[in-house]
């Protein structure tokens, strides 16, 4: 009757207290996690929009091509030049 601390009831009450505190703390943590997830997922998807891909290529033109380019730029076979410098 007098020894309250050892009673089963008090123990279970303290356990309930601990559980409730953990529940409420985890709710707050979940809320903040959601915010972090949301912001990071938006940021991660947004970053590629600020990048640009480009390829630098050394182009080899032989004398015939240069002669033709001076005559008429439209007649140069650009595709074959592009191919030969790519591979």
């Amino acid at each position: 009757m007098t020894d309250f601390n050892s009673s089963k009831r008090l123990k279970s009450r303290y356990k309930a207290e601990k559980r409730f505190k953990i529940y409420s703390m985890s709710a707050l943590i979940i809320g903040i996690m959601i915010l972090v997830t949301l912001l990071s997922s938006i940021t991660i998807s947004a970053i590629p929009a600020f990048t640009q891909t480009s390829i630098g290529l050394d182009v080899q033109m032989d004398d015939d091509d240069i002669q033709q380019f001076q005559d008429d730029p439209k007649e140069v076979s650009w595709r074959s030049i592009q191919k030969s410098s790519l591979y």
Partner: protein, 457 residues
């Protein structure tokens, strides 16, 4: 011409403020009597009496003069040109106005004479308003100028004018609300002339595609709103299942357990969620949450639609977490400290205090917070437009795709519409029903707050 007049008027009333101030200062030094109002009030009195009559007259003129000019023009059209079809008059009228504004040209003699008539009466009406308003402004200015005296109660007069201006401003807000509701009601009545009320409220099929031309082969169009409202309710219930536990428990943690340092960081962080635009939530739901749920559902052996109600509901729940948490946080903080101390003195633990004392004491506020969040969720559009489906689907399975009322309103009103077809008018009927539902929820929350308020104080 009118712009020049308004600018002059503003300048003159600005000048007359200083003029009024000077006048009262001069009279005070002559009379040696204690002054009733301070100098600035006399200045304001003079300026307002110059400005207000013109402002009112010009406002009235702007509202009614186009109608008068149009009806005069229509009469003239009927007199000059014989027209059998009465709908032709409106066409001719807008033609004449367009020619006068220089948008189109014409060499028809009758029409040109009408244009010059229109120009004449427009010019006349502008001259009329300029003369009338300047005369009345001058008249009232001199009336006010003669009143200025040391014993004159200019302050009371100016305060009265300002008070009346505020009344008019609040009336404008109220009238706008009434106008919105009235337009909704009128269009809804039009809709119910075509579709029976019982078909709309209790119909189980929603398929608003109807023939737009008379010779077109199409369905009759089914306007049963039950699937839409069921979809809205399903998504809202999911949202509340997410938002109420997280929002309420974090409010309890913030106000009862956390130390001030954590609170100072965590509370603003949760409130950031309220500041994110709903479009962002929308594509977060459609592009991140929905695929994530679908893929994980597939591993678990569940077949989730990629536009499942679950994704839209969860994200909508996230959106209303801060609404619930910050409102209930305020309410919980408002519970008197003596209740907590009394409960602790009786030997209860902190969680028992929260569950048995604080929550009951804060209940009206919490319930009204939840109901506010609920009506916000029901009316939410962008998330469901982006993340929920469009096809009406009568189901309560959260893994399937459902549509919501707001989605259908968007679908019905996007693009050019004809406002005499049931398809377009259905949007107004849906909007009206939605408005009634959220109105009832708001009334309920006000009632709850009023009934249980200050029970413990």
């Amino acid at each position: 011409m009118l712009n020049f007049y308004i600018l002059t008027l503003l300048f003159l009333s600005f000048a007359s403020y200083f003029f009024g101030k000077k006048t009262i200062q001069r009279k005070t030094t002559v009379n040696h009597v204690p002054q009733h109002s301070r100098d600035t009030y006399h200045g304001f009195y003079l300026a307002l009496y110059l400005l207000i009559p013109s402002a009112i007259l010009i406002l009235i003129w702007v509202m009614i003069s186009p109608n008068i000019i149009h009806s005069l023009l229509e009469q003239k059209i009927q007199n000059t040109i014989l027209i059998e079809d009465s709908s032709q008059i409106g066409v001719l009228r807008s033609q004449v106005i367009s020619i006068s504004e220089g948008i189109i040209n014409s060499d028809n003699k009758d029409i040109l004479s009408l244009v010059s008539y229109y120009n004449d009466i427009s010019q006349l009406s502008i001259n009329l308003i300029l003369v009338v308003s300047s005369i009345s402004s001058l008249f009232l200015f001199f009336y006010a100028y003669r009143k200025i005296n040391t014993r004159f109660n200019a302050r009371t007069k100016v305060e009265n004018i300002i008070k009346n201006t505020m009344i008019v401003a609040s009336l404008v807000a109220i009238l706008t609300t009434i106008g919105i509701v009235l337009s909704l009601i009128i269009e809804t009545i039009e809709f119910f002339k075509i579709i029976k009320v019982s078909d709309f409220l209790f119909g189980l099929q929603w398929s608003p595609q109807i023939a737009l031309r008379e010779d077109q082969v199409a369905n009759e169009g089914l306007f049963g709103a039950i699937p839409l409202f069921l979809g809205t309710i399903l998504i809202t219930v999911i949202a509340m299942c997410v938002a109420v536990p997280i929002g309420l428990l974090s409010a309890i943690y913030l106000s009862e357990y956390s130390n001030p340092r954590i609170r100072a960081i965590a509370k603003p962080m949760l409130e950031i969620l309220a500041g994110i635009p709903t479009v962002v939530y929308g594509f977060f739901a459609a592009l991140t949450v929905a695929p994530f749920l679908r893929d994980n559902g597939a591993t678990l052996g569940l077949s989730l639609s990629s536009e499942s109600a679950l994704a839209a509901g969860i994200v909508m729940g996230i959106m209303i977490i801060p609404l619930i948490s910050s409102l209930s946080d305020d309410v919980i903080n408002a519970v008197p400290q003596s209740l907590r101390e009394g409960s602790a003195a009786l030997g209860s633990t902190q969680s028992e205090t929260v569950k048995k004392v604080i929550l009951p004491a804060a209940l009206p506020g919490i319930v009204s917070a939840i109901l506010l969040a609920l009506s916000r969720a029901i009316g939410e559009t962008m998330i469901v437009v982006m993340a929920a489906g469009v096809a009406a689907n009568l189901t309560i399975n959260p893994f399937e795709s459902v549509t919501a009322v707001t989605v259908q309103i968007v679908v019905l009103l996007v693009g050019d519409q004809e406002f005499d077809s049931a398809k377009t008018l259905a949007a107004f009927a849906l909007g009206f029903t939605l408005f009634i539902i959220t109105l009832l929820l708001n009334i309920l929350s006000i009632y709850i707050v009023r009934k249980y308020r200050e029970q413990y104080d």
